[in-house]
């Protein structure tokens, strides 16, 4: 491993993963991550640095542990009874995500997540921002501005500014997903995790959301799971291919997207990326 080529904001005792590139700062450092559900190993020994401000795409067939990986990055795995996560995950500022006493609620504010199915609260659009923002200590007066900023950022402001008091559920699927992205953005996260954010949308809405994610590049670190290889090619700077080996999910390939997609070293990854398998 050529760890020294990555610039190191990490404390000295944080072990280095293998960097995807030599120039970006790692925002998340994952070392030897293993995820088990009641003894069943879903994900085995993942080591990867997620570069800051760029888009990392995770691809691979169903059931290879992509969601498990994503959920362990902000401790959503805590919600699953019987789920055990070992190994370590560090944020650039030294926060140890996997530490048993980590401040999980603050962590989830810094590492946001957007799911496959849009999941707004069945309340007004405004309440969808007020509830989480209040929880994270925002004052009532600052919330309208913050809400407008992020709604503009996701291109929803013009569509909803005159119906903020109306139920969020009445929006279309694509609008809802952008609302959920805005809601995650409102907390000013350093990282956003996307778990197949376009899979439940029609092609047009999917394109809008994809462009939106692409537009966030540079502002924060993005990790996106997608089954759409063309989409991964279009937007990803880095790519990681997950595969089931010996009954457990592993990462068989990772690196700059261009290299992973053009000349993958792993034969399974090669077949999968060429569309011949998976």
């Amino acid at each position: 491993m050529n760890a020294p080529s990555i610039s190191l904001p990490f404390p000295a005792d944080v072990p280095a993963g293998s960097p995807a590139t030599g120039d970006a700062t790692a925002c998340l450092r994952v070392t030897g991550l293993t995820v088990q559900y009641r003894g069943f190993t879903a994900l085995r020994d993942i080591t990867i640095d997620i570069p800051e401000g760029e888009i990392t795409a995770l691809v691979g067939p169903s059931g290879c542990g992509k969601s498990s990986f994503l959920h362990s990055l902000n401790r959503l795995t805590d919600l699953v009874p019987g789920c055990r996560v070992t190994g370590s995950i560090h944020l650039a500022d030294g926060t140890e995500v996997t530490h048993p006493k980590a401040d999980v609620l603050t962590l989830r504010g810094r590492v946001g997540i957007v799911f496959q199915r849009p999941n707004p609260f069945p309340q007004s659009i405004r309440r969808n921002f007020e509830i989480p923002l209040r929880e994270h200590g925002w004052s009532k007066e600052d919330i309208p501005d913050r809400m407008e900023t992020v709604l503009r950022q996701v291109g929803l402001w013009n569509e909803v500014h005159d119906r903020l008091h109306k139920s969020a559920i009445a929006l279309s699927g694509g609008q809802l997903q952008r609302l959920c992205i805005a809601r995650a953005l409102a907390l000013e996260p350093a990282v956003i995790l996307f778990d197949e954010p376009c899979s439940a949308l029609d092609p047009l809405a999917s394109g809008v959301v994809e462009d939106l994610i692409h537009s966030l590049r540079g502002q924060l670190t993005i990790v996106i799971v997608t089954h759409n290889l063309a989409q991964a090619r279009r937007i990803a700077d880095h790519a990681a291919v997950f595969w089931v080996r010996d009954g457990a999910g592993t990462m068989v390939e990772h690196g700059p997207a261009a290299r992973v997609f053009s000349s993958p070293a792993d034969p399974d990854a090669g077949l999968y990326l060429s569309g011949a398998r998976g």
């Binding site: 902000n74 959503l76 919600l79 009874p81 999980v104 609620l105 603050t106 962590l107 989830r108 504010g109 946001g112 997540i113 799911f115 199915r117 999941n119 707004p120 609260f121 069945p122 309340q123 509830i131 989480p132 929880e135 994270h136 139920s167 559920i169 009445a170 959920c180 809601r183 995650a184 907390l187």
Partner: protein, 292 residues
């Protein structure tokens, strides 16, 4: 003329069977409706003449043979308030614990649901005796509005727990990860997301509970008592409307006409409460249908 062949005869007998089924069903429907109509007609004929603002507000006089039902209505409302004051927080809390905190199928969860279901099948006279002993004697509340209200609360608790629990369980499963993913605590998630979303179900449960509590007699005879005076505090004894009817019909000579008038008032109250429950649930279901 050729005789009717066997299959044709069978078909004819089936047709006869068909027709008699339809006729029997129609008769049953007619009888059911007739009973209902007869009940209402009788109640209106016997009770309506005395119904007036006077009747609703005046004191009970001559053991109920004259005067009105003012204090009885006030006592009924106070009993209801005590009942809901205990039953709503207890029922909601219990359902929340079952839905959000207890492990499904764990021993404590099974014990609680089992207990609640058992409570639902206890006859109301037993609640009355329990209330008299526990609230009246052990907790020294005596014959009082409070004692009656709390007894009713135990009685409608299972209904509240069940409706609230099913409302919570019917919520979209992805609300919880959505809230957790935004770094919200469990308590905020419950208070600001889950409970508001389950509110329609809770309201329906409460409305049904009110209907049940209003019509209860047996549980109140031994707990809130018979007093027809204007209640001043919750520790006064107070007569509920259903108890008033029971007393007039059974213990008061010539109490029949006043019993009918009181019954008419009670029936009207229950009809209003029940149709409110139906309207609420229909509107809620409709809304869910349109938005999902």
């Amino acid at each position: 003329m050729p005789s009717v062949s066997k299959p044709a005869a069978r078909r004819a007998s089936f047709r006869w069977l068909d027709r008699s089924f339809a006729v029997a069903g129609g008769m049953a429907a007619l009888v059911s409706f007739g009973l209902f109509a007869w009940l209402i007609r009788d109640l209106v004929r016997l009770g309506m003449p005395r119904i007036s603002w006077e009747f609703l507000t005046a004191e009970v006089a001559d053991a109920g043979r004259s005067g009105g039902i003012g204090p009885v209505l006030v006592s009924s409302v106070l009993i209801l308030v005590c009942c809901l004051g205990l039953a709503i927080p207890l029922g909601t809390g219990c359902a929340l614990w079952l839905a959000e905190y207890a492990r499904r199928g764990s021993v404590p969860a099974r014990l609680v649901t089992g207990g609640v279901d058992l409570l639902a099948s206890v006859p109301s006279i037993v609640f009355g005796l329990f209330g008299m002993v526990f609230f009246g004697q052990t907790l020294r509340m005596g014959f009082s509005i409070l004692s009656g209200g709390l007894t009713l609360a135990c009685m409608i608790l299972p209904m509240l727990v069940r409706t609230t629990l099913s409302a919570l369980e019917a919520l979209p499963a992805d609300l919880r990860p959505a809230a957790a993913g935004l770094g919200m605590t469990r308590s905020t998630t419950i208070a600001k997301v889950l409970l508001p979303a389950a509110l329609p179900g809770i309201v329906i449960g409460v409305t049904l509970g009110i209907g049940r509590a209003l019509s209860e007699t047996a549980a109140l005879i031994f707990t809130s008592g018979y007093s027809t005076r204007w209640p001043e505090t919750l520790s006064d004894s107070g007569r509920a409307l259903s108890v008033h009817i029971y007393d007039l019909a059974l213990n008061v000579a010539n109490g029949g006409p006043m019993a009918s008038s009181s019954a008419l008032v009670l029936l009207a109250l229950i009809l209003v409460v029940n149709s409110a429950a139906v309207t609420l649930s229909e509107r809620w279901l409709l809304k869910r249908h349109q938005t999902s």
